[in-house]
Symmetry: C2
Subunit: 492 residues, 2 copies
């Protein structure tokens, strides 16, 4: 199979004209440039084609209250109460439906791989479901049905605050002990791992013809909402499992060390919310005499596979620790704006050696172009200076570096041997009209929107074509799943 | 004519279901609510309908370098050099074409009235064109052809900095003396005023059937780029003329007083760039011992008809002066982000008594929903607190308050007697799917984008229908006009 791109971004500031991408199975096997006319039989992608986008930090269910938490005043902490109220209404069926719709919106925005930071594990009172991974498997099924890759970052969440029991709204997040978290996640990861290959090498052995799930038949033949059992994942090499330490508020130092050990032994990604709010830093200093980053470093969490989410208020020492570890810092600027978190020091983190990634987090907006430019634009507001990050670095955050943070080093670039995950943008949109190939990266970062995405390919198969999801009516699924969640709440 | 809106925003937090708007000529004559089904023969607007949006601060030509000034580092001042290079290539023909395309993009984004802060008056060496208002009239013609209302804010620009001659790139902005600015703008305003009614009362006398120009026939029958002469405006009550003091950098105190006197005598809007950058404040203090706002107050500029653009770095006294005058503060947050201006104190300005408006300014983005939410979101980043402005206030900034700042008090609300300028948003977009009528204002401010605009009506006539401009291929015009401007530059 050949794909001809009118223009493609292969890295750097410019886009390259006439790029032919040869695909076998789900891999890119050749890349030719300067091909003025589409070869006969080639799939034609007009406009500008990029590697598929990695959404490195998502809480899918929070899509349900987009635009509904903006009434009145408040803080991050009052917003969190509203978020708990929505989380309380989830069950495996409605979670799967809502996540499927949300991941469908992501696909339409060019996201081909999502990192779902997953912490709603049990029934509202904390009792495990009959299948203890019913919730995580619902989210995995949702991503498969929406046609995108997923790294399920299963979050350990044991305390309501440093040294505190979980509060009522947090009970369902907790496994009680880190040992029980390990037991549960072992089962999830072994199921997923056996079935789909948790390492690039294992994934390579999957037969190319399986490809990612485009899910139409799955969705049609399986009873709505029934969770997928691990063996069902066997032919779908689009799922990986990683770990998360929710935060130093929710996980103590010894527990964090146990989670880090689990992730390090398996060589899978490890994520944690870090210093999103000044109050977290203050609590950590008061309890431990250390910053959250220092605590995580001592727990053995900081490696190249570690991603610190937000990192809005790090100290200089924190930046050094993250940089020296070669960790990734995932910024979620539209959420950090929404929750009044503040502006993280992206330039200083990069200078220290950290990589960047981006996430849609609370789903206030699902638009990774907006997230990319917001890293730079918000830092301009903080520093009163332009050009803190160049466009190529910001696009890399949304592509290669984001995929790396999610444990997909073989995705995120248009190169021989990489996964054939691609997203194309229309040059006919009024937002991009007048774009010049030699400054294409900047035009895309600073002017494109999710609405300009026309085609999305995952593992060589179309997921979005001409602006429409190939198997889902995403807006209708969003409407229905959000309405259903509302009535689920009313029932209880 | 009747228009049935599935939902309409009539002010406040909620949207109202089933609103029937009766229109005669270009005015709303009745508003009925709770009408579940569209009356027979009514025009149907699905989704959410708002008053048309006012873009209170625009430099249309800057659309040409969207995405092209983001390479490398720099400041507001280095960006300004690139802007001058683009301005140097304008002539009445290519300016009209570029402005027409840019205003077309605005129409697609729901803008029904633009305030064009116009300062490219003369040939590049400063020589007036044969018609001294050729450039201003080109911009006016562009707005008419794109189907939107315009207030041409003709800017007085006489110095390259405080006490300095204009530099080479600034010569074409200057009339040399304020007397010559008055002479030129008198001619423009009298032409426009005679023809179109510069006051609401005069405008009322226009026959309803004329409506705004939708321009197809105009564009077809007039040679490309030939400027419109004032009599040609006679049947088009969509044009007003106001004044601008470019800044206290470019206009001295006595000159500012003369411009203010001109605007006050005619009772038209007066706008000025104010304290966008700390360096402007420093220069003003060094030269005059006063802030820019204090200087403008002493010049008699601060009235209810005054709009301060940006106001990013005001003192407490500046805020008081603007508030006590009942002035408007026009924020352009996407530009203020782009140019590393900083975050203006919107909440404190409002508390002091000022009103807010929004503008797309440099056209880095043309999306007034993004501008509205950015006022609030950027202030959250500065204050680490949510809820500084409510959604209804922000929507008012983009509608009633913005129109008032442009001298169109009879526009910007869905009320009996107001102009029938409307914009509707699709509830089928994935961004708005799940919106609830009782929190619609917040959902629209925080989640809508320009891409969600489906229908735009100006004076009772469609300008945008089902997402398409009724007379223009806007993307194609943008592409062509931007390319033409590039080659115009290469010629010289």
């Amino acid at each position: 199979m050949e794909i001809w791109c009118e223009y493609a971004w292969l890295g750097g500031e410019a886009a390259t004209a006439g790029v032919v991408i040869g695909v076998e199975g789900e891999r890119i096997v050749t890349v030719r440039t300067g091909v003025a006319k589409a070869p006969e039989g080639a799939v034609v992608l007009p406009g500008y084609t990029l590697p598929g986008l990695a959404n490195a930090h998502s809480h899918a269910f929070q899509r349900a209250f987009r635009g509904k938490t903006e009434v009145g005043r408040g803080t991050f902490w009052t917003w969190r109460e509203e978020m708990y109220a929505a989380a309380a209404r989830l069950d495996p069926d409605n979670y799967r439906a809502l996540a499927r719709a949300t991941f469908g919106e992501m696909a339409l925005a060019g996201v081909t791989c999502v990192g779902e930071f997953h912490y709603v594990h049990h029934a509202p009172d904390g009792t495990p479901y009959e299948n203890p991974n019913a919730m995580g498997e619902a989210v995995i099924a949702a991503a498969r049905e929406a046609g995108i890759r997923i790294t399920l970052l299963d979050a350990c969440y044991l305390h309501g605050g440093i040294g505190e029991e979980v509060a009522e709204g947090q009970r369902r997040f907790s496994d009680g002990t880190v040992e029980r978290w390990i037991e549960r996640v072992d089962a999830l990861a072994d199921g997923a791992s056996r079935a789909t290959g948790s390492s690039p090498a294992a994934s390579d052995q999957a037969t190319p013809s399986t490809g990612p799930s485009l899910s139409a038949s799955d969705a049609a033949t399986r009873p709505a909402g029934s969770p997928v059992s691990p063996p069902d994942l066997a032919t779908r090499p689009t799922v990986r499992v990683g770990a998360a330490i929710h935060s130093v508020r929710a996980v103590g130092p010894a527990e964090a060390a146990a989670v880090a050990e689990w992730a390090n032994a398996r060589e899978v990604p490890l994520h944690a919310h870090v210093s999103e709010q000044p109050a977290e830093n203050e609590a950590s200093q008061a309890a431990y005499g250390r910053t959250p980053t220092e605590l995580l470093a001592e727990a053995g969490a900081l490696t190249e596979r570690f991603t610190a989410i937000h990192v809005t208020h790090p100290t200089e020492r924190d930046r050094q620790l993250l940089g020296e570890a070669g960790a990734t810092c995932c910024f979620c600027p539209t959420t950090e704006r929404d929750l009044a978190d503040g502006i993280g020091p992206a330039a200083a983190l990069r200078a220290a050696g950290a990589r960047l990634a981006v996430g849609s987090d609370s789903q206030a907006v699902i638009d990774l172009f907006e997230e990319c430019r917001a890293i730079e634009l918000d830092e301009r507001l903080a520093r009163l200076e332009r050009g803190n990050q160049d466009a190529a670095t910001l696009l890399a955050a949304a592509t290669a570096d984001g995929h790396r943070a999610l444990g997909w080093p073989e995705a995120g670039a248009i190169e021989r041997g990489k996964l054939a995950d691609l997203v194309s943008l229309s040059a006919d949109s009024v937002r991009l009209a007048g774009i010049a190939p030699d400054t294409a990266a900047a035009s895309i970062v600073f002017a494109a929107t999710a609405a300009d995405v026309t085609n999305v390919i995952v593992g060589g198969e179309f997921v979005v074509r001409d602006g429409h999801h190939v198997t889902m009516d995403v807006a209708e699924e969003l409407r229905r799943s959000i309405a259903d969640l509302g009535s689920a709440g009313a029932d209880r």
